[in-house]
Point group: none
Chain length 414, copies 2
């Protein structure tokens, strides 16, 4: 049976950097194992969404999984909630949140309340007791995730994700009032609920013993919840229905886990998978091998470190992360005992070191498999893959190309 492993090196794409003599990190990195797959397989370029369009990690992954983000993207909050292990019901509106420190004038002193919040579970319990007086039919669910971060779910019969953030996204600014972003009553209600929750989060947290203790110790109190990125579950058909395969996802960060769950993949937890540069790459590849040896047809393996290094503008760390993945891939290839495995490698978008943010540049793509008609390209990088046999694809085509090789697609017509 043909199985497939799709490895996405988040933000690995880059530009011709002056510090690398106008080469890219993928051109400079030593990556004999990835390049051996490029030699064996077929390559090309890919725009996750469309030429030039700058994707978020969320819209890029939706597109790569075959879902049109213009039709299905409904805000980041829902993916974060799913990624944090919460169950979302239809109609729920979910937000990413920070616990932050504000002064009496509602001005932000620290967006992360010092980042490490000892006893955050106690604060979580207090927040879950908040009742919304203006709309008593709405239920509040708050879950602390890591550090200052958490997820807020509003559950009620008529809520909308078309509301603006209360998080002003900068220190010194006042906390914002959430505003409806369209003219529906649902958006108006949701904004009212969010504003009441925000006010009450401050009342509850400011008086909480954990915060009184923090202040005594000279630590910034986690005295408000700042929500952003309202999202609802997208209405989509599942990955299984679309491609007729049992799929698993391995990722370190909540957002990507959430997208994988939203499309119906099983998210496999890996100890030591952090989404940072300190992630345990080998543990992730081990888990992928185990899943492929088991009953999964398809494994999506996400590496965030390449993007994290790029956002920091750290070209050495970016190259280092690519080289670490290559090394572990070498181990994986020496271990793998599946006769008919397709390995695809790409990036969801470029995050050039010079930009420190996502851009809409084309990224390289390779697909290696014994039966594939290979091209002449023998390096996985932005320049070499220009000559690739796949030409230039967009993200929405990738899964069809892979599923076709796997023999999973139904025939259209006779």
């Amino acid at each position: 049976m043909v199985k497939a492993l799709l490895i996405v090196l988040d933000g690995a794409g880059d530009r011709a950097l002056k510090e690398l003599r106008r080469k890219t990190p993928l051109e400079v990195a030593r990556k004999p194992n990835i390049d051996s797959l490029a030699s064996k397989g077929v390559t090309g370029l890919m725009y996750a969404i469309a030429p030039g369009i700058r994707p978020g990690s969320d819209t890029a992954h939706l597109a790569i999984f075959g879902y049109d983000p213009y039709k299905t993207y409904s805000g980041r909050g829902a993916f974060e909630a799913l990624g944090a292990g919460l169950e979302l019901k239809e109609g729920d509106v979910a937000f990413r949140t920070n616990m932050a420190t504000i002064d009496d004038d509602w001005r932000v002193l620290d967006r992360r309340a010092g980042r490490y919040i000892e006893g955050a579970e106690g604060l979580e319990r207090a927040l879950n007791e908040i009742e919304i007086a203006s709309h008593p039919e709405v239920k509040v669910i708050y879950k602390h995730t890591v550090e200052h971060r958490g997820v807020l779910i509003l559950r009620g019969p008529s809520l909308s994700n078309k509301v603006s953030d209360v998080d002003p996204h900068k220190v010194g600014a006042k906390v914002l009032k959430a505003k409806p972003l369209d003219n529906t009553p649902e958006a108006k209600i949701t904004a009212e609920v969010l504003n009441e929750f925000t006010r009450k989060s401050h009342e509850v947290l400011a008086e909480h013993p954990i915060n009184k203790e923090r202040v005594k110790k000279g630590l910034p109190p986690a005295n408000v919840v700042l929500a952003r990125g309202a999202g609802k579950l997208p209405h989509i058909i599942s990955f299984k229905e679309k491609y007729h395969m049992k799929a698993a996802a391995i990722a370190g960060i909540a957002l990507i886990k959430g997208i994988a769950r939203a499309v119906g993949m099983d998210v496999l937890e890996v100890k030591g998978a952090t989404g940072g540069l300190n992630t345990d790459v080998k543990a992730k590849f081990s888990k992928a091998l185990e899943a492929l040896r088991g009953d999964y047809d398809f494994v999506f393996l996400h590496i965030k470190g390449t993007d994290a290094a790029s956002h920091d503008g750290d070209v050495r760390a970016k190259i280092g992360m690519i080289e670490r993945v290559d090394e572990v891939l070498g181990w994986f290839l020496s271990e793998v005992d599946l006769p008919d495995l397709i390995i695809a490698i790409t990036s969801d978008h470029a995050t050039p070191i010079t930009v420190k943010d996502h851009t809409g540049d084309a990224v390289p793509l390779l697909i290696a498999w014994d039966e594939i008609v290979s091209d002449d390209v023998n390096s996985f990088d932005e320049r070499a893959c220009m000559k690739g046999g796949l030409g230039v694809l967009t993200g929405k085509d990738l899964m069809n190309v892979i599923a076709n090789f796997m023999g999973k697609l139904e025939k259209f017509g006779e």
Copy 2:
């Protein structure tokens, strides 16, 4: 700050010509400066609209500016009017016009009334006094532009651009009655107004002293206005809103100026820019340099001469025009002192010498910038750019690709 210059060589694309031993004019022309940009940058092929589709200069430029011509194109007349410096209001219907010579039987003797019309301003004044008895709410605005050409605007509360031309487009044919092209009352009214205007233009012009004088001198009288290409302002979001940049256009001909104005670019006037083979190319590049040194982020520079030569079937003139642009580009490159300038060069469509009209062939495209990942192509022509790293794009993608490199696009998602 990254700025960009987009040079469009109108109709420069061509085919494998027998007279050039099956090479194209772009392959044969000596153009070391353009080719040096091809070496430095990345290249590809482009179809302004879609593979094989034959664009007009208007629809091609709309597409290249990122507007879907199938959704936004609403007739050429509006662009001509804007390009002639007229202000258009929402609801106005504008036409391109010729002053022509007809006989008493309304048969066209000369579509251009001898082309040069001394004292055309006097005729213009007379035409502006025409009143539409059948629809007195409609106002007539006529502006003479150059030679026999002019623009007619009908301004009224309920007019449509869905009317046919009165211009029969050939000598010996009778002037046509304008007909509504759909079943709306607006189209019917507009056809009635245009027919009354056409009848009255003949009455007014035939009796005008300037024409009596022309007849005495043996010149063909400019005794009717023949309208064609009814157009309305398209409903579009502005270039500034779309790409977040301050943009200027430099062009010799009214149509292209009008499209640039319609999308919200500032049209910079250049003395000596004629849109013909006698245009002052250096004056245009000087103006572009001035604009880029100033506060413009983006300059679109249009060269019409390549298309003009192609419509004449004059391969030598076409090659000569390409070489003149290349020479001036060399001067521009030696002068330019902007550290981070993107230069893109393409053609809006092919105008093969053998066809003498626009075709839907792919045209070459290059984008040069320090940070761009370059390909191996070192000539800007139809054949070399087949191997380009950009692959095959359509016009609608071009501005996103450029704006992405400029850092002007918002991220979609997070």
